[in-house]
Symmetry: C2
Subunit: 389 residues, 2 copies
């Protein structure tokens, strides 16, 4: 039979059926009042989601495009910056910064751990010339959350330094209030908490961030933030936008506002807790036990299990698509995403599939044990309403 | 959040995504060579599914329409027939037969039990004037399978009697080889094992069945089988067909042929076994323990649980749609369908949801116990292939 597919990867994430239908409608032209009205609505929805009064730019590019723009628009050749590198996406900040000739001071963080903010504070105290601090809110490769709030507290009082946060797998998943915390640059993408096909990225800038953009001398054209801002204010985009995706985005943002971000964050936290409880109950070791992301949970496979083979078995035999490990974790870990359009039964499917696959690979599993742990967490939040109690 | 919906009712059943897309294509006109080619392909697919060399008619009506046609086309006013009535759909045979002035001898069967074929044999021996025996292959309301093979053995040697089988929730679910067993009339519908939206019904007739149609004097027009057969042979339909559904049907029949009916029947059997094992492990009582249908499993709710409220809780709080009881079982039982586009994780979702809902309603449930029983059954069939063992 056609296998039902359970997409549990940290991007793309499942897409709400009504959004798929919305994007299947006949294409609009982008230089029309009709499309401008959509942009106008989307702008407000993004400000709600990013928790900012400032513009949130919409770029027709994957998240890496918005990351690159956050370097090329805000810094000048030879600027010194700190990159917190605790995984593949920390590495990416370094690569982009170096491509543009910045002087990168890397803070290497063990994969699976979060950065200690006091290290950043100490460097910034010692070295007054640091222009930016780059970090991931959720380092997808290691399933870690870095302490963005604490970093923002350190950076916001320093006039000549901005905090640039990769929120690609964090925005819409857990709380990152830009204005309240003082995040200067917050980047996100379409295919994570925003539950869209890939193709769009977003970037919000603080007033300090926009001030930085005035002095920056790095070359840029497609990712010119000021040009995009001016167009956005006129309810349009500088270049041809990904029209269908923006039509889908409007629908997603309507849904997000209807559910409310607090409810959304609480839902992700509950699903994350349930997933972690299921993994631990199976006797498996979490990749990031101390500061796990609420968007994705990583865990080590038992010794002797070939991770690539195991992930293929889950995918091809059971229809469950999890993500493997990257870099030196390749073949050793799996990652279950629980971001976006994911419900409690997706977690039950993930853990029950894991139980059966582990047993098939010779690991001693007591069926139902992981699931029971998941159910305990999910049950706590289940309302009595309607039960007659 | 938008709840994911798990449709586990015995019709409609979930629809394969590719079939949905196929049906969303621009509408065709039905009096075209293009549509005739579709009918030609669909005819062959239906013969494969019904396991017959004879024509399988396609009616633009729900299953009840094909049931009515099976009365009005094959019998004459005042004919005596046996109806095996062990549930809502047995009752329906009686209602239709009586609406057309047939003389119905009902064999009442306790709900949850199958008919004893020797009772039918004895009546047919005693009363030589009986023209037809009506039965359900799967009595959806009681989740019972009646012994069609044994009934066919009894009826096929009697020249003046035909066996009329309601296979609406059975065709494509378990084995009902028309020609091999000697079923004279086999009825089915779109929204069960055929995994389509409701709107079509199908009926296959044996040579004996067609012979009966020549003497029948009951009035009929829309459901005139001979007219439909003649049109079908010309690759068309007597009246405007449900074009999109037939376009979807082509796709479904391609899928069915690709998977192969033996594999499909084995899959349904496995899912049914797993569901029953889960229910029993939870300490619940099966509605039809002795002759259960492989398409749907019924079970009694614990005493004191209000079935209507419980089903609403499953639906509105958990997104799981099961069917309640009909007639005197209303409020006392639930039915989980596992027919058509249903996979192993649908059963896991059903049983895990049931565990949580039962606990929420105050029933003492050990989380994971029902699921573990499900997993044991499903695991047995899981291949070692790809595990490296």
């Amino acid at each position: 039979m056609r296998k039902k597919i359970y997409l549990l990867t940290p991007g793309p994430t499942p897409i709400i059926e009504d959004v798929l239908l919305e994007m299947a409608r006949p294409i609009l032209h982008h230089r029309t009042p009709q499309f401008s009205a959509i942009i106008e609505e989307v702008k407000k929805g993004l400000q709600y989601l990013f928790q900012t009064k400032n513009d949130v730019l919409i770029l027709n590019a994957s998240g890496t495009g918005a990351m690159e723009g956050s370097v090329s628009n805000l810094f000048s050749s030879g600027d010194s910056v700190i990159v917190i590198n605790g995984g593949k996406f920390g590495e990416r900040w370094t690569e982009i910064c170096r491509s543009y000739g910045l002087n990168v001071k890397e803070i290497s963080v063990e994969w699976g751990k979060a950065v200690d903010p006091s290290i950043v504070r100490d460097i910034l105290k010692r070295d007054k010339g640091i222009k930016g601090v780059f970090v991931q809110a959720s380092e997808t490769s290691t399933t870690v959350t870095h302490p963005v709030k604490e970093l923002a507290e350190i950076v916001r009082d320093i006039d000549d330094t901005i905090l640039v946060v990769d929120g690609i797998s964090a925005v819409g998943v857990f709380d990152l209030p830009m204005d309240k915390w003082g995040i200067d640059v917050l980047v996100s993408g379409a295919q994570k908490g925003l539950m869209l096909p890939p193709g769009l990225s977003f970037v919000g800038l603080s007033d300090k961030g926009w001030r930085f953009s005035e002095d920056a001398d790095l070359p840029r054209y497609y990712f010119d933030f000021r040009k995009e801002r001016d167009n956005l204010r006129a309810n349009t985009t500088a270049y041809t936008p990904a029209i269908s995706l923006i039509v889908g985005l409007r629908k997603v943002l309507q849904d997000i506002r209807e559910e409310g971000i607090e409810t959304i964050f609480a839902r992700h936290e509950r699903l994350a807790m349930a997933t972690r409880a299921g993994i631990v109950a199976l006797g498996l070791r979490l990749l990031a036990p101390d500061s796990p992301s609420n968007g994705v949970t990583g865990f080590f496979l038992p010794d002797g299990v070939d991770g690539g083979r195991f992930a293929r078995f889950l995918r091809d035999d059971l229809g469950i698509i999890m993500a493997g490990g990257q870099g030196h974790l390749k073949g050793k870990i799996l990652r279950i995403a629980h971001m976006g359009y994911i419900g409690i039964f997706d977690i039950i499917v993930a853990i029950s599939g894991l139980e059966m696959a582990l047993k098939r690979f010779g690991y001693n599993v007591e069926f139902g044990k992981g699931i029971a742990a998941v159910q305990e967490i999910l049950f706590m939040e289940m309302s009595d309403e309607g039960t007659g109690k």
